[in-house]
Symmetry: D2
Subunit: 359 residues, 4 copies
């Protein structure tokens, strides 16, 4: 990255950008309150940094070792207060701000009635963002794949319900985008675009979603290290979209015999990501465990570990949910979780303010 | 699945298909030499099989327990000789036939000259199918992503080189398809469409590729069990394409400290897949190990385990390959591997003929 | 297991035990406040439960499906209040009781002075139990293996320091037992015997340690599922020792590239174990992460998830610790952790009392 | 390590050894045909190699980076022909020599008759070494643990059967040693001492077994990387025993859903170990797969990958074996495997002789 001098002129910045283009790379310009930092997009191993360092207006050049550069904390610390994280806005909600954000709703939208009833309930319980699956990734090609997979008009209908419910109950909305062809359609209706765990590595999909210009909720693949997770989130950032909410949702369980949970929630990923990147990180206890009776404990653990939010699946009648019935909780349980988690947040927040990165 | 009587009429078959549609499912019809079997596409848990069993012309109905149904050996054993595998044709090459098939070529196509030189060399060494990456999946968004990622005209140019080289040296061709938007373009030029390991779970991409009407080489994700691998390959089959070549290319290594290989080649997946499915299975020792010095041993092991082919990366100057240089071998080494592997095949083929599934 | 009637006489119980012996099994007798339950030790698959069910004084017989039987919550729920856990006493400390227990001390005892200084500090910080390694399991045969490995007199000397420090600062003590030959020696001096993660599967060692008649702290192997962990803890229980404190300390990280932590703390193991067994479970954030800067967050997460204690490595000069320097914290940090964790416990304890198993 | 000059005198060697002792380390002396190399046992990070390099008779000093030093190929290549492996003798059998060695016998010894019948059969089938479990490691504390676990006289009786059968059918014998207390007893009767996968990390047990002065068959833990496996085998070597046969027997399977095999045979470990160490490596297809129908393919793959032998469980009536019945094969199948494997060996041996390390 190239750190410009405090008094660097626009022309000097433009000149650096032009030099970067000559090298066959692109520039990512970040204006901080006091100074401007230019990140390089492309293979900087071929770059002669000495040459860039002596251009007019350049204070210093620095190589970021990690494969994730534009989302790296080292990068953001260069142009803003060290330790400050990115706050992402969706409607009037701030993710990564001062208080935890709760995303809740049904796993899959089953009908207008089901969605509206759950939306109303989770709003009352204290949720901030409304989720609802329309294109469902499924482990079997023979299973129901969500209302959106039944056809274009069904997709538009379900998307409009989600939009309406979000407006009525004053919550920004989120749904998963499973393929490139549907990205633009979904972005017409929904406030946050979700990339599911199974698609984490799908770089063409990442680029397509990044370009819709909406915040992205990006879930870690169950076979990915934190380093890989951050490296692939860079595919979204290089397409000009840094409104990325990272989501830990569990990795493959280890060992012979029963693990008793669907995945293994990697709780340490929360503080690790906060040290490595300035992006906000949330926890999804529903998919991590696949068990309703563990949501309370894992939610508490997530907030205690420093997550800036939770994504939880809720149904008024969990046993009857069409998809992932075993992990849905009721809105009463959600209310209790939100209350406890807010209190845990209050217990830990002070020390985390002292420690700049919030760990 | 529904097994029709030997003398079932076309009308009886059509009638069964119509009944299946009424149930909200689709029918996959497989005509064997003597009889016809109809597979169900959709959630058969809601089906009343008793009702189907008494339709005219139906001999019996049978539920396949596994989540992979249309590619299941149980299914194919019902309409053809038990143990017989699917033979997939690309050009005049048969994959899954009597002798091992060798896919070889550069990891990435770097230039016309590089491709043609390697094509000529691997043909001489005994290779049957020419590979060459044009859209490369990379671990960093900042790395070079292949000639195809540089723009549409570059993509078409590289694709046409591959087509030409294939024609000139009489080898069908294969390249990886990384995103939905490029599938049709690539299918214009190339004989076999490859789905990379990182995209194994990407169900929308699978459907789009399936519909191009070309054989598909489908690689196992490094975090997927064999059961998941087979279950997701079903996403290709339900879209009407059963010309699927399965490829074992290694799973995540286990344990602290060095594994000394990039991935862990799951050699037992070869006979396991042959028992579970009638699809042919090959081994990719290059990506599995990431080490040129292990390709010989892993190729021998792959054929000894019963694989019906190998995919190997070759470069005339491995150290200078732009991508994955550490794993490329020379065509001399390829020739030696092909010779040894053919002899190992000869040693084991007789017993495998006796054991119907080739294990 | 065999549940006796409330008014079963001693003779009736003895008679059942005698019948069990005739079957080639042993009996594990648990007297609850109101009734007595007899567990079977041995392969109950060969047992005719019908025969036992009609013996005088027997109320009912029940087969426990899980491979862990004597430590199973189903077993303890039969003879005591459902949901009640085992409280293990070491000195005047209760593990598994009403408030979290903190185990702290140096990774390895380096000298009398080092131990006493740390002991004094951790006591002041609020720790309850003093830890200190004397026989260290190491990843290299060439590394220093702890004072105890230098010879018998060095072992006795270090053990007596630990005993003294425990007495002086009024903390029960704990150290790891790495081999059968040393078990009795260590049990002479120390209050709780620790079985390290690497020895989790070592069944002969488990039996030998079990027979020393002291509480055992039993750590999960990094490659073991929770089911295996519980199944192998049964090796301690069948030798008559149920004073087993289970310790989650992380499993193998998943994925290519950096995990940023030594292991992956499986935080969901805490509530899972509380549902499956009546044994108390603690968390070791030091070994799980191997990073001092993550201990605070992981400690908070552990208690928030319902752990009944923590084991933390402390050094007055972490950078100079002979072993695992990167993960030691100062006693000031410990004090802050204990304070925060106690407050998190207070926030969650009420709801956990309502939910019987504390999840 | 310290490489002595060709003409170094005994006194010069002794002098170097004395200097090493002064540094608080021990010396491992290896006499090659032409020269002598001295390995250091202990933490060489504290050693001033410059000081040792100028001692009389010293040609050069070299630091081995890997944590495994005395079993490192770099070490053996310094005192013998590069690429030459260690040949271990048990009776008149050579492991690591010119032709593959087959270890066969029952999983567990059930009776004198069972053992003798199987011994006779496997000898006829071409086996070289007789295996038979007497102390069985089991996944449940309630299962039968082998005849040896029933008492001392039963243990001696079973051990004497094994000794007798070995003599009668002219095969050296091998059995597993599960705990320190039994090591000396077993070493009285048996030619090769086996350390099971679950005990791989058990360093006190390793030291105790090493000191029995018999060859050791050392199995890789299912959660261990190759680096860890080699690092822990060093615990045997530092106690003066380098007659270590390494055994690959599978690691934890990856992914959700069925793996269809008990473990994942890490076939690439075979050539990797041959490059990293001069110790011989064999493959155990029985425990790796847990499935009789895969033994043929995995045996072929093991020898094709360059293993110097196989360990296979055989029973005249597999379905009735008391332990691991699903993985035992008949001696007829064994004969077929040995025949095929010898032919595969013949196909690959020439190239492997050219490539010095046999990869």
């Amino acid at each position: 990255m190239i750190i410009m001098k405090k008094d660097a002129s626009k022309q000097e910045i433009d000149n650096v950008v032009a030099e970067i283009k000559k090298l066959g790379l692109r520039a990512d310009i970040s204006h901080g309150e006091a100074l401007t930092v230019i990140g390089l997009v492309g293979d900087e191993r071929r770059v002669n940094f000495q040459h860039l360092a002596v251009l007019p207006g350049v204070r210093e050049t620095r190589m970021i070792e990690a494969p994730y550069k534009l989302i790296n904390r080292e990068y953001s610390d260069a142009f803003q207060d060290p330790g400050k994280s990115r706050v992402i806005r969706a409607g009037n909600i701030e993710i990564g701000g001062d208080s935890p954000v709760y995303i809740a709703g049904p796993c899959a939208i089953e009908s207008r009635e089901q969605l509206f009833r759950i939306a109303e309930e989770v709003k009352k319980a204290g949720a901030h963002i409304l989720r609802g699956g329309i294109f469902k990734p499924r482990s079997s090609a023979h299973f129901w794949q969500g209302l959106g997979s039944q056809g274009d008009s069904e997709a538009r209908e379900a998307l409009s319900w989600l939009q309406e419910a979000g407006r009525k109950f004053e919550m920004p909305t989120i749904t998963e985008v499973r393929g490139e062809y549907k990205a633009a359609l979904i972005a017409e209706y929904v406030d946050i675009l979700q990339i599911g765990a199974r698609n984490m590595y799908d770089q063409d999909l990442l680029s397509t979603i990044a370009r819709q210009g909406k915040p992205v909720l990006y879930k870690r693949h169950f076979g990915a290290s934190v380093e890989e997770f951050l490296s692939f989130s860079e595919y979204i950032a290089v397409d000009g979209n840094k409104d990325i909410i990272l989501c830990e949702r569990g990795v493959l369980p280890i060992g012979k015999g029963k693990s008793f949970t669907r995945y293994t929630l990697d709780i340490a990923a929360v503080p690790v990501i906060k040290k490595e990147s300035f992006l906000p990180v949330i926890v999804d206890p529903s998919h991590a465990t696949g068990r309703r009776d563990l949501i309370y404990s894992m939610s508490c653990a997530g907030i205690a570990a420093g997550a800036c939010g939770l994504a939880i699946e809720v149904h008024y009648n969990p046993a009857e949910a069409w998809v992932d019935a075993a992990q849905a909780i009721t809105s009463d349980e959600l209310a209790e979780i939100i209350d406890t988690c807010n209190r845990i947040h209050a217990v830990t927040v002070e020390r985390r303010k002292i420690n700049k990165t919030g760990v």
